[in-house]
Amino acid sequence: MSVHIDRLWQDALEQVKTWARTNSPWVIHFNSGSCNGCDIEILATLTPRYDAERFGIKLQGSPRHADVLICTGPVTRQARDRLLRVYEQMPYPKFVIAVGSCALSGGAFQGCYNVVGRVDAVIPVDVYVPGCPPKPEAIIDGIVKLLDKLNGAAPEEAQL
């Protein structure tokens, strides 16, 4: 009997934790050599027209405070170890969103000598937001999809 109650208690706690995590995703933004087209679109999500704060998204300064790392740019060699260090400084549970086609596949800078090319070659990535640059709506949609994934909802097939 006690085992049953125990599990009940665990589930309730788990649900509260997931609810809290999905309702306050704090974000840190890292530019690993992007042309900052994506960066100004990420900043645009905070401004009045898109206002990411409606979803509880707040841009944080320190990796210690953040849950979600938004990474842009094709990861130049110089920025590579900084990206790793920022990722390791973030407390668990942490997630990564790669924004912009540079972060996904190196974009226009494929084959350049000073570029690693993909963010997921350096750190594990949860959500990819394609586009050069993706519109603020697409970036917010990426974060919402990440939250759905957290809630365990199966991502619906992309309507063709």
Partner: protein
């Protein structure tokens, strides 16, 4: 050749080996590499415009020599001082005496083309990463880029 360019030609006249005007508002003047600093000093003292860029060229000269172009602008006219350098130990005196801001352009020239800039206040790397192998100059046509390929992508 408008009046500005003629005046410019007078200023750098003593070092000019040859000159031609590829376009209405442009003048190319070939000079010896050792005279770049003196020419810069003369132009700045005569207050003829400002140094806007330093360009490195590889494969432009037939005899396989490197070329360094100093672009000076005054209003709409552009004066380009061209100096050709041997490929293996290319060296050119620094113009930072006359134009203090040129250190950034000279550092870029040095790391991209391997041109040793004599007397530049700072010759540390500007653009290339810290772990970039020495001796590989990316913008040279024969640069051995595979030696400096980015670290192999390890799976996390």
């Amino acid at each position: 050749m408008n009046s500005d360019l003629e005046w410019a030609l007078e200023i750098v006249g003593e070092w000019a080996l040859e000159h031609n005007a590829p376009a209405a508002d442009r003048l190319d003047v070939r000079i010896k590499p050792e005279h770049t600093a003196a020419a810069a000093r003369a132009l700045i003292d005569a207050r003829w415009g400002y140094l806007t860029a330093i360009t490195g060229l590889d494969g432009s000269a037939e005899d396989g020599q490197l070329e360094v172009l100093y672009h000076y602008c005054r209003g709409a006219s552009i004066l380009t001082l061209r100096a050709s350098l041997p490929r293996d130990h290319a060296a050119v005196p620094s113009v930072c005496g006359a134009v203090p801001m040129a250190t950034v352009y000279e550092r870029e020239l040095a790391e991209m083309f391997g041109v040793m800039v004599v007397g530049t206040p700072d010759s540390s790397r500007l653009f290339l990463p810290d772990d970039w192998p020495d001796g590989v100059y990316p913008l040279r046509k024969d640069a051995a880029l595979e030696r400096a390929a980015p670290a192999p992508e390890e799976d996390q």
